[in-house]
Symmetry: C3
Subunit: 342 residues, 3 copies
């Protein structure tokens, strides 16, 4: 592909020879002849002098012999070009004869149902959806267009998936919420979980992640949100648009997240917590209190990240501080004694 075509494709301004033939996109250090590379971080710019790439995508014109494409977001261009040069292999649409379909299943155009897929009664599956082997879809589910369900995914009954939803292998959507009432004998009586899970368009969910259905009503993941592997989302949670939940995050029941929230790895939320729009919780932090919009917090229980970063540097000094306090007390007592003696 000619460089000028690439410039047009990523929406950048070409500086240099647009007729160069480009065969791939690579990182600065890996790029060679016929490759376009990119500089997404300022600190990587010095590496450009050493790069053997034929062209570079940058966010401002730089001094180099290479052809350049200048645009605001070189990383975005990189993502687009990866998709161009390395298109994902998709299976040929077909309904494998070894897939098991229930009654009243509605299939869109160009659907792929692989071998050993199970589809319950009254399920509808949109155009272009791909269900890999071992996927199990309970009754009354609705799967949107171009959804991709990787191997061994389970949807419990009545789960709704929007368009272009991607579920990675082993994800479990719609299992019973964890709800019990203890009785006078100390037995835990199961509260029937009669709600469902709704996953909106363009959500991606990682491997072995679990999203429980609501006791009543919906557990909802809104449009564009991305969830990593091994995340736990309990019953009746609502996750706003375009949020990011990193691996091993755990959310207890009835939490509400705004849009563009970021929960870093292993974050924990107690039940009924609300996290405001664009708030960020640092890795391994946890909160049982609401967090305001745009707040950035860390620690467990979480506090503003600035505060957290300061206090953790003091922790190793605690034994010394404790000793100093004892020392101060002794010396002060001595002074007081001398005072009273004199």
């Amino acid at each position: 592909m000619k460089l000028e075509k690439i410039a047009a494709l990523v929406g950048g301004v070409l500086k240099g020879d647009g007729s160069i033939e480009i065969s791939d996109v690579r990182g600065i250090e890996d790029a060679g002849k016929g490759h376009v590379t990119f500089v997404a971080k300022k600190k990587l710019l010095p590496l450009l002098a050493e790069s053997r790439a034929d062209a570079v995508i940058v966010d401002h014109e730089v001094s180099t012999d290479m052809a350049q494409i200048v645009m605001a977001n070189p990383m975005l261009a990189f993502a687009k070009l990866l998709a161009v040069f390395h298109p994902e292999a998709k299976p040929e649409p077909q309904i494998d004869s070894r897939a098991a379909l229930g009654k009243n299943v509605t299939l869109g155009k160009d659907v792929t149902l692989s071998q050993f897929v199970s589809i319950g009664d009254n399920v509808s599956i949109g155009d272009g959806a791909i269900l890999y082997p071992g996927v199990v879809v309970g009754p009354d589910c609705r799967i949107g267009d171009d959804a991709v369900l990787h191997p061994n995914v389970t949807l419990y009954r009545s789960t709704i998936l929007g368009n272009r939803v991607i579920l990675h292998a082993g994800a479990v959507i719609g299992a019973d919420g964890f709800g019990y009432v203890p009785d006078e004998m100390g037995l835990h009586n199961k509260i029937p979980q009669i709600g469902q899970v709704v996953i909106e368009d363009d959500v991606e969910i990682g491997s072995n992640t679990c999203i429980d259905r609501a006791t009543m009503g919906c557990t909802t993941v809104k449009q564009g949100t991305k969830i990593d592997n091994l995340v736990q989302i309990a019953h009746n949670c609502t996750i706003g648009e375009h949020s990011i939940l990193v691996s091993q995050v755990g959310m207890a029941g009835s939490c509400t997240l705004g849009h563009h929230v970021v929960l870093a790895g292993q974050v924990g939320l107690a039940d009924h917590v609300t996290i405001g729009d664009q708030a960020v919780l640092a890795a391994q932090s946890g909160t049982f209190r609401d967090v305001e919009s745009k707040a950035v917090q860390g620690g467990s229980p979480s506090v503003p990240a600035v505060t957290w970063r300061k206090y953790v540097t003091i922790l190793p000094k605690l034994p010394e501080m404790s000793r100093k306090i004892k020392d101060l007390e002794a010396r002060l007592k001595a002074i007081e004694k001398r005072e009273s003696d004199s």
Copy 2:
């Protein structure tokens, strides 16, 4: 269903018109005509005035125009009524022709084996058990009456499940414990894990939870215990009756839990730890020491929750405390100098 029948069913005392027809049970704010609602927490009582429900279940007689059912545990009544008005859909019992059965498999009455279920040799399955698609049962397993194994559950060989056990999708019971012996060359030699897992009656286990089999002997989960999603239980653990393990709890090998223990989300236990009856560990806490019966602990390493709640409020003040100590030292030194100078 008439309200008087509902009162009898939940074991409450009816105050008001027992002939009202009730079609569903709902939360206070969602309830409308033909619905019975409930007040499980005192603070929700004021909402009752606004509720459009026809009847309410309360733990003491309240002043309202609605018909009332008075009983000790309204939440328990709610759970019972949900099951009445929203009975869980169950598949018709049948052995699907696409299920794969080993030799010498014993099936009770009314068993459901769905398509793509695999049953190993010498397995017995109790009356009314339901195995959803993709379930794999290793040889020599025993599954109790009315057990439910959701899709893609795996039981390794020799696993024993009691009656009414529920395993959610992707749960793995009986995999090898994580045991190795390093040799003089630094290689990790696998210790064969020849034990098994025993899950007693009325245990429910969440999606993608893992319970490893014992090196020798049993990993045991006793009667009535409820385990959430993505929990790790290592080899040779024993979990007492009616305990609650919330999502993402991790227990290392050979831990022992008493009865009615509560481990909140993301709690971690080091190996060989014993947690006494009715003890509670707060979310994200961890311990490498035994915890006494009825203790309530928090933090990592855990301490009594009262202590933990106090010290975490001081953490953000550490930098200030450190500065103050320095200031005190300087001022004290100055006083001491003035003393010695004078």
Copy 3:
């Protein structure tokens, strides 16, 4: 098996009657007639007097009436003897007619493909490999000799498994790394993940563990490393030889671990962190900084374990320390006032 044969087999020196017939190996307290036991920890030695075993494996000659086998590593002997007396049951090698094979699949000798296994195009599977029911292998994967893939394991395309690799049930290898570029509208644009996962020889991976493939290049787990259940390894990580990752560890993208590293339960690593050879991170610790070879760290963020163990004992005293500082301030101020007054 005669005791003298056992001594030869484990490479120990026999003291006593080598003609004793041994039928099993057991722990000290469980051993009885016909059993050999072992003492792996000094503190267990006193139990030997009570043991009903016929022979014992010890790391130095002890005073006992039993026959003894003396060798450096009795625990290793135990592991070997467990394998001898309790050999793992393996299925008879066969390609089940209900397994689904793609085009151009290469199978070694004595391969087991169980029912409901799916193999993609261009896959090669080595001699003696066992794939249990529900395993899904994407196209272009390579599986080494004697590899064991337990039920419902998923390999995404192009995954490479070495010889004798063991993957426990529900493990997901090679799913897309969690990589997105936000655009000016706040949408998360997926970065295609075109790399792969390489698992070297003798690696064992626990149930429901997830290892994502690299954005470009490889996510690599080197020879002899053992990974427990529910672990998350993100894209582009490299894990050195003979390391141990305990359950629920989470590693963000592009981390590098040396050889013989130990990450205890629930440890978290931020992205791009390097952990040196033989370093150890204690349970529930986390780091966003590199850790040196042989370092032993604890806490979150982690510090040397010695430091961590000291400061956590002070934490419960923080409220008292805070009060003391206030008291010191008041008393100091009083002295200063008296000084200036006099």
